[in-house]
Structure formats: structure tokens, C-alpha cells
Symmetry: C2
Subunit: 412 residues, 2 copies
Amino acid sequence: MKNLAVKAKTASRALAIKTASQKNIVLKQMAKLLKNNASLIQKENKKDLINAKKNQLSGAMIDRLTLSDDRIKAMADGIIQIATLKDPVGEIIEQWEQPNKMRITKQRVPIGLVGIIFESRPNVTADAAALCLKSGNGCILRGGKEAFYSNSVIVKILQSALKDKTFDPNMISFVNKTDRALVKEMLRLEGIIDVIIPRGGKSLIKAVTEQSLIPVIKHYDGNCHIYVDKFADFKMALEICINAKTQRPGVCNAAETFLIHEGVAKKFLPLLGKELNAHKVEIRGCTQTKKILPKIKKASKDDWVMEYLDLIVAIKVVKDIDEAINHINNFGSGHSDCIVSKNKLAKNNFVERVDSAVVFANVSTRFNDGFEFGFGAEIGISTDRLHARGPVGLKELTTYKYVVEGNGQIKN
Amino acid sequence: MKNLAVKAKTASRALAIKTASQKNIVLKQMAKLLKNNASLIQKENKKDLINAKKNQLSGAMIDRLTLSDDRIKAMADGIIQIATLKDPVGEIIEQWEQPNKMRITKQRVPIGLVGIIFESRPNVTADAAALCLKSGNGCILRGGKEAFYSNSVIVKILQSALKDKTFDPNMISFVNKTDRALVKEMLRLEGIIDVIIPRGGKSLIKAVTEQSLIPVIKHYDGNCHIYVDKFADFKMALEICINAKTQRPGVCNAAETFLIHEGVAKKFLPLLGKELNAHKVEIRGCTQTKKILPKIKKASKDDWVMEYLDLIVAIKVVKDIDEAINHINNFGSGHSDCIVSKNKLAKNNFVERVDSAVVFANVSTRFNDGFEFGFGAEIGISTDRLHARGPVGLKELTTYKYVVEGNGQIKN
């Protein structure tokens, strides 16, 4: 493991100084080879699918594992899309001169070597590798054992593209054993691997964070709220609530709790209840909500912290905006939270005091997303507070260094 | 411990939205009360000093522990200086509009609750608390047991300044037991404490990193290099080498290794050797260096990774700039490294490829410092790659959030 990482680190140093056009040529070659080798990929993918059936994985798991023609094409197209994005490396973030005439430049550089630990979906392999390459980072990929054959062949194809264009293939390294002890070893290679990005369920992220000596960029859950203010436009509030809850309920930026100002609850809740019923959403409400919508389930304390990822929503009537803000800061997960209001003071108060990665005013929480932000790609949505918050795109895969130039300045 | 942290977290939320002038009033009150209570501070400090003598602490330790009149004044003046600095909170980092007309603002916000774990010097208490307050962060301070009485009284005085100005005193919290188990507990309060900053020796930082579930901003050692290029101005190279090594050898940005291009070694090393002798610096050289300076000690492999923090230097002759860059990237600690050269290509090559927090061209490494960078204050120099690299000032004690404003955008 250490040997693999050291080779990847050396390769990452060489990659860090490649130009955007050199990197883009490799990315295009990767996309081409993935398309050209679709049948080889599917042959290996079949081995994983046979094992999956043998091990009685769920239908959803098997679906995520399957590399259809369309999915292979989408993987290749994704890489071409990354090739079109602006290279963040070398960007001058700040530049100034001190009174002693030394000139300080703060400039964007790659993080170095990124360790990615992920579960079932094999397309993450190509995605993550391409994002790392474009941002000048080497990567070590450790996929789940259920996608082992698929991941292996994808990495081999990506590496052959690197070789074709005389890049060191170790830039994209792959842990080709599924032994769990290797992950533990990987997480202790501080100073060689610079950051760990786990992609998968909460238990994976938690286990990685507990064991890692290396900084981790975490993608925890989204317990997202929509607060419908006293000054909300009802039509807008209904549209945002329904969109945030039902457009794709299984993702982290979907809404899980609605908070309704008591001044509008009596009028608004019946409208909302009707729409939610029409969308087959189960409602769990507080006592006041249940008075207005008597047929719903009563919410328990657990409901305020749940990320359902399903067609279920918790609803609470709040006496004012302060209660809404406190509820979000206390029970939310700091992911994506929204106010619907026409009142400027209320909006300002909310966006200032809600302590979340992305705070929305009159916009569905579903827009917390690297593509929707215009980043062109994302490796996930960070729930951390340090380094990267919210969508993690190419820029968030970089760090900075200072270059200080002078003419012999010494310290007195 | 958890109770203390939860109270501090609540206080930090209130602090996050205070204005610069509200915070500055409190800072000035803190400085005033520290000065007014100098004799009380010294009375408590004496208890620590008596214990220190009883426990036979070294003279250097006792010196660091002692709060003289001058040091108390310096502590107060430091806080007043922090009050004059620009408040980083609320700064708009970026702002743009997406094609769907939603407006995205990336703005600077406090990190939240900062845990500071530090050793002997009690002035860190006032420094760290003031920096956190100014940047809108609550803090939990855990000082060493040898400075327990001094730290306690300083925190009490700072808290009374908070109360005077109707701020919640829990913004500055103090772990008033020196039990080690409490530190372990503190390091597991993820989601309540947002970042841990250890201030002290390598073993403290290492222990904290191993145990912490919370992200840590680390201040590891500086194995700093000066590379004297073939195209160096000898006078400048001598001045920078001597300054970086001898001006204050016990600090992390002092130089520990000189790398000399073999094309100038025969002429330059005798001059350098003479100056180093005059400054009583012990030299440990490679085989080639020893041929030119026969009286010096032979360097062992360990010398290339040592942070001497003393009047000792390792010298190696390198065959070209590539060898210098590789040596620094392999044996250095990524802290502060310098090239002395008149050649533009050499300088560009070096600053591009040396992978350190601060890379200098013709400037002494001693300038890797928050004050010298114009930050006005610093809590340390980060050797991490994520979030904060190099000097950690007020800006580095903040993070960002996105505010997305629209008029009812929903996702299709």
C-alpha cells in the first residue's frame, strides 16, 4: 500500500506542473478509449453482476452496478465535459507587496494526492479520476468489492490513455485488493496521501473519519428545511416545497422538514397537505399541524433529525422566524435550507443566521449542486466547514501556496 | 465537557452576527481589564511559578511561564492591535448569477467553535481568545496544567469584559480541569466543536491528530531550505543564509539545510563556512562539502530531515536545480524554502515545483509569518495543505457559506 502511494505521489508531482492543454489531451484520450472498449468493460462488468446475483444484492444495488451502453457513453461524455472546463491550477488568488518590497502571490495549486474510497457505482472511478487529473491531483482509488472487476478494467483503460500521452500511469492508482486492512493502512499514510474523500453511505464516511490520520472531506447527510414565512407567496411556497420534496426524494439536497409560520398555517397547510397527498408523500406533523390536518401521523422527536430520502416529510408550525432559525440550526445538518418569503428583512435575517453550507431564499434546495452552481462538475457536496463547503468542484480540489519574491530581504 | 461545549456553541452563534464595532468595543475592554488587573494576574501566576519550581521545570520553561509587567502589557497591546484589524466576516468572496437567474453569493463566515489545546505560555490564552472573538468564533481553551492558575485568571478577566459589554461570556470557555481524559472527550465532540488548533510541540500535535474526530489545523515543524543556485549573488546568498539560520534559530521558519549548486560550491562554501563559524554555527556536510570544508562534521542521513532549532546546519552540494528541488520535496517539511538566484528561469522553475506552503525567491525564510505578510496577527503557521496553509490569521479563522437568492426557481 505504501509503495503504491509513494509511486502515486511522485506521479502527482509531475502532474501538478502539466499545462491545461496537456491534461485535456489525456482526458479526451480517456473518453475515446472508454468508448472503444465498451464491450471489454461490459465483459468485466458481467463478472461483478454474476457475483451480485450470487450474493443476492438488492435490485437497486444491481442496477447501480450495471454498466449499460448508455452509462459507458455517459461516463465518456462526462470526461469530455471535464476537459472543456477551466483549469483552476495556477490561478492567482491574491497578490500584494509589503512595505519592505517583497512581493507576495497567493496562487492555486493542486492538493497533491487524493485518496478516494467509494462504494458500488463503478462510474465513480472514471468521474473521480478525471476530476483529479484536471485539477492536477494524483489519485488512489479504492472501490467496493462488489464492483471490483468493473473498476479494475476502467482504471486499466484510463491508465493506458495516460501511457499513450506519455503521462505516468501511476497518477491514477487502484487498490487492487479488496482486503479491508488495506483501507486502514491507506488512512494512516499521512504526508503521502493529502486528503481522503469517501463516497458512500454514512457508515462508510464515519468509519473512514474515525480511522483516518489524513484530513477527510465528508459528504454527510442533508436534513434540509423549507421555512414558509408569514410573508410567503403561497404559490411559490407550494412549488418549492413540492419540488424540494418530490422531484428526486433519494438525494441529499431534497427537503425533509417544512417549517410553517403560525400566522399562515391555517390557510397554507390545507393547500400543502392536498399537494403532498397528490404526490403520495407521507406527512408527520407536530401537534399544531395535526390540528389542521387531522389525518396525518404525529411526528416524534426523531422526525426532526431524520433524513428520510423517501416520500415522507415532517412538518412543524413555528411561532416566528426565530423559532424556525433555531430549529434549523439545532436539528438540521447544515446542508441546504430555504426560506420562502417576500419580506426583505425576513430573508436577510434568515440567510445571515442559518448556519448551513447553502442558504436559499425563494429557491428550491435541489439547486445545491456543482452543476447547478456552474462548476461544470462535482465530486460531491461537502458537509464539512473547513476547506470545502457545499458543492466540491475543480476549485475545491485545489489548495494554495504563497510565492514570495524579493531582492535579498532579511529579517532584523 | 459536552455541556461546556454546547454552551460555547450557542454563544458562538450569537457572536457570529455581531458587527465589527461591537466586537472591537469588547476587545478594548479586555485589554483595559487585563492592564487594570495586572497584580491579580501576577498573584495567580505566582502559584504556577511556585509549582514549577517544586516540579523542577527547566529555566526556559519557567521563563515562558512568567507574566512580568511587560508581558501583561504586551498581551493587552496585542488585543488592541487585533481590534484595529479589518473584520473578515461578511466579506463577499464571489458573486454571480446563473442562467436561471438565481444569484449566488459566496461569503465569509466564522468557522464556529474553535478548540485550542496549548502548552505552557499563558499569553496564548489572551491571544487566541482575541483572534477567535474578532473572527466571530467561540473558543474552548485547554491550557497546560503548569499554567493553570494563570490561564484561569486571564479567562475570568476576559469573560468579565464580555459581560461588561453584554456579550455571552461562554464565547470564551475554559476547561477548568487538567484531567487528560477531558482532552480526549473534547476531541470527540464533532458537530459541536468545529476545528481543533493545537499549539505546542510535535508530540502534542501528533497525539491530538490521532485522537481527534474533529478537523485539526496543524503547526508541525519547519525543515526549511536555502538553495544557493549557480546564478546566485554571493553577497545576497550569504546574508540570507546567515539571517535564516542565526537571526532566531529556535523558530519554525529558521533554515536547517543549505543546498549549494556544485558549480559555485568551491568558491561559495569557504565564504559561507567562515560566516557560519563567526556565528558559532555547527556545520554537518555531505562528502563534497567536507572536501571543501575539511574541519566540519560529516552529515548522516538523519541530518536531512532534522529540525535542529539550534545553531546547527546541514549542507549538501547538489549537481543541479533538479536535485535541489527533489531534495526539498523529499526531505523537507513543506514549510518555507528559498532559492537565491539572479536567473529568472531558475527562480520560476523553483517556485513552481517546490511544494511548500511558502516558497521564497531571494528572501529569507524568516518572513513566513503572519505579521510579515501584513495579516496583523497570527495564531500560528499551518503545515497542513487543506483550508489554511502558511500563516493563519483572521481570514484563515473563517470559512464560507453560499447564499442563493431567487424568485421561485425549481428544478426540472
